[in-house]
C-alpha cells in the first residue's frame, strides 16, 4: 500500500467538508474519485498535499510515514507527491520553461532534471515549441499539458490530479489522458484523479470511489462502477 487515508475529516469553519473518509492506493495504480461539484473532491487532494489543515483524528500515511509530519512543500520535495490543482494555476507571468524549472526548486539531481525536461518535451512536443513563451499566453490544452508536465518535474511517485479534463475539448482531453497513461506506464507513477467527468475518469482508472457530500458512498473496479445503476443514473447521464 502506497497511500492510506483513514478517517479524514476537514472543516471550513462550521461547514464540514469531509466526514471521515478512508481509502487506499497501491503503488502503480490509477485510481479515481468521482463526485458532483462540492462533494469534497478537491478538498481531499488538498488535504493530502497538506495545503489545508485536517481535523484531529485524521490519519494519512504514505509509505508508512505520516503526511501530518510534512509541510506542503516537503510533501512534494521529500516524498515526491505532486499535485495538479484545479484550474491548472500556472504561473502566467513565467515562461513555459520557468514553470518547469520552478517545479524542481528543491531538487538537487541536476542531470536527472535535464532528463525529465526532455521527457516532458517528448510527451508534450507542443510545450517544447512554446518553451520561451509566457504560460499565460498558452491555449487551454497547452496549459493543461504544462500543468501535468510541471507536476511531473516536481515529483513523480504519486501524482494528484484535480479535474484535468475541465474546459478541454474531447480530443484534447483524450490526449492529456493518453499522456498520463504513458507516464503511469513508463515511470511507474501512481495516479489519484478526481473528476466530475465520471465516464472519462472511470475509463482511464482501474478503480474508483464515489464521493457524495463529504462521504465515500461506493467503491469498486471501474467496470463495476460503470455498470452500477446508481452510478449510471447519478453520474453517467442515465
Amino acid at each position: 500500500m502506497l497511500l492510506s487515508v483513514e478517517n479524514l475529516r476537514v472543516s471550513y469553519g462550521e461547514i464540514k467538508a469531509l466526514h471521515g473518509i478512508s481509502f487506499q492506493i497501491d503503488k502503480g495504480e490509477i485510481v479515481c474519485v468521482i463526485g458532483a461539484n462540492g462533494a469534497g473532491k478537491s478538498t481531499t487532494l488538498q488535504a493530502i498535499s497538506r495545503l489545508i489543515p485536517v481535523e484531529p483524528g485524521s490519519r494519512m500515511t504514505y509509505e508508512g510515514k505520516s503526511l501530518l509530519d510534512y509541510s506542503a512543500d516537503k510533501v512534494v520535495s521529500q516524498l515526491g507527491i505532486s499535485h495538479v490543482p484545479e484550474g491548472r494555476r500556472l504561473f502566467g507571468n513565467l515562461t513555459v520553461m520557468e514553470n518547469l524549472r520552478l517545479a524542481t526548486f528543491a531538487r538537487k539531481d541536476g542531470a536527472d532534471i535535464e532528463r525529465d525536461v526532455g521527457r516532458v518535451f517528448s510527451i508534450f512536443p507542443r510545450l517544447e515549441e512554446r518553451k520561451t513563451q509566457k504560460a499565460g499566453t498558452l491555449s487551454g490544452g497547452e496549459q493543461q499539458m504544462l500543468a501535468v508536465g510541471r507536476a511531473f518535474m516536481s515529483g513523480r511517485e504519486l501524482m494528484l490530479l484535480d479535474e484535468p479534463s475541465m474546459g478541454l475539448a474531447p480530443l484534447l482531453m483524450l490526449s492529456v489522458f493518453d499522456a498520463l497513461k504513458e507516464i503511469n506506464d513508463q515511470e511507474g507513477t501512481t495516479i489519484l484523479l478526481v473528476e466530475q467527468n465520471a465516464r472519462m475518469a472511470l475509463k482511464f482508472a482501474q478503480r474508483g470511489y464515489v464521493l457524495e457530500s463529504g462521504s465515500l458512498v461506493l467503491e469498486g473496479d471501474s467496470e463495476e462502477l460503470l455498470a452500477n445503476p446508481e452510478v449510471k443514473k447519478a453520474y453517467l447521464g442515465g
Partner: protein
C-alpha cells in the same frame, strides 16, 4: 548650468528613495502587505553602517589592521547590508508571519508598532543625540563645465544603480527570484512546486532590508548626520515612491524613486525651499489622482511585474 547641478543632486536624492522604495514594492508584490516598518529598517541600516565604519576606523587607527579607506567603505556597505537583512527577516518572522491570514489591518498595525519599537530601541541604545557618520570618502570636487560634482555623489549614484541592476538580475535569473515572481502571481500553489513559502518570504524581506541599509550608509555619507527618526521622514517618502511606481512594480519603484528626487530638488530650485514638500507632494497627489494605480501597477491587481 544650475539645471545640471540640480540634476546631479536629484540623482543622489533619488537613489535613496529608489533603494528604499524597492523594499516596499518587493514585499508588497510577493506578500501583498505594506511593510510599514521599512523606513525604520532603513534607519537601523544607517546606524549599523555607523557602528561598522566607526569600529573599522578605530581598528585601523589603532594600527591593529591595515585597512585602506576604500576597503572600509566597501566593508561598511557589505556588512551593513548583510546585518540589516537579518533585521528585516526578524521583522518578518516576529511581526508578519504570525499574522498571515489575519485581517490586513492587523499586519499594518503590527508593522507600525515594530517601527516604533525600532525607533525607541535605537533611542535607548544610542541616546537622542544625533550621530555624525564618519567620512569614509575623502571629498574631492570635480568641475565639469560649471557643474560641481563630488566623488561622493558619483560613488553613491553608481553603486545604487549597480545594486538595482543586481536585484534585477537576481529576480530574473535565479531560482529564488523565479520563486518570488511565482509567489507574486499565485501565492497558494507555490508550495506545490516544492518551494518553502517561509524561506521566500524571509528572503524578500532580507533583500529589501539590505537595499535599505545601502541607502542608509549612502545617506550617512552624503548628509553625515543620523537620528532615530530619520526613517520616518525618508521612509514615508519612499513609500510614496513605491505607490507612485505602481504597487508591486520593481521597475516602477526605482523610476518613481528617482522621479521623487527630481521633483523635490527642482521644486526647491524654483520655489522657496520651505515650500518644497508642500508643492512636491501636491504634484504627486495630482499624478495619483490622474493615475491612481501608479505608473506600472495594474488597477485592481496586486501582481508583481518583475
Amino acid at each position: 548650468m544650475i539645471f545640471f547641478q540640480n540634476l546631479v543632486n536629484a540623482l543622489q536624492l533619488g537613489s535613496f528613495y529608489a533603494l528604499i522604495a524597492l523594499g516596499y514594492s518587493m514585499v508588497y508584490g510577493v506578500l501583498m502587505l505594506f511593510n510599514f516598518a521599512h523606513g525604520d529598517v532603513f534607519m537601523v541600516g544607517a546606524y549599523i553602517g555607523f557602528l561598522v565604519s566607526t569600529g573599522l576606523l578605530t581598528l585601523a587607527n589603532l594600527g591593529a589592521v591595515a585597512l585602506p579607506t576604500w576597503l572600509i567603505l566597501a566593508l561598511t556597505i557589505i556588512l551593513a547590508m548583510f546585518l540589516t537583512s537579518f533585521v528585516g527577516m526578524l521583522v518578518e518572522r516576529v511581526g508578519y508571519r504570525p499574522l498571515r491570514g489575519a485581517p490586513r489591518a492587523s499586519a499594518a498595525i503590527s508593522g507600525l508598532m515594530i517601527g516604533i519599537f525600532l525607533e525607541t530601541f535605537v533611542l535607548w541604545l544610542g541616546g537622542p543625540k544625533r550621530r555624525s557618520f564618519p567620512a569614509l570618502i575623502e571629498s574631492t570636487t570635480y568641475e565639469l563645465g560649471g557643474v560641481i560634482v563630488t566623488n561622493k555623489k558619483i560613488v553613491i549614484v553608481l553603486v545604487s544603480m549597480l545594486l538595482m541592476l543586481a536585484l534585477h538580475l537576481f529576480v530574473r535569473r535565479t531560482k529564488w527570484g523565479m520563486a518570488m515572481r511565482a509567489m507574486a502571481y499565485d501565492y497558494v500553489v507555490v508550495p506545490l512546486m516544492g518551494v518553502p513559502l517561509n524561506t521566500i518570504a524571509a528572503l524578500t524581506f532580507g533583500l529589501g532590508s539590505a537595499l535599505a541599509a545601502a541607502a542608509g550608509v549612502f545617506f550617512g555619507i552624503a548628509y553625515p548626520v543620523l537620528d532615530p527618526y530619520m526613517g520616518i521622514r525618508y521612509g514615508w517618502k519612499a513609500f510614496v515612491a513605491a505607490i507612485l511606481g505602481g504597487r508591486g512594480s520593481v521597475l516602477g519603484a526605482a523610476l518613481a524613486g528617482f522621479m521623487l528626487g527630481f521633483i523635490e530638488i527642482f521644486v526647491a530650485w524654483i520655489f522657496p525651499s520651505t515650500w518644497r514638500d508642500l508643492i512636491a507632494y501636491s504634484i504627486i497627489l495630482l499624478i495619483l489622482t490622474l493615475r491612481p494605480h501608479g505608473f506600472f501597477g495594474e488597477p485592481y491587481s496586486a501582481q508583481l511585474r518583475l
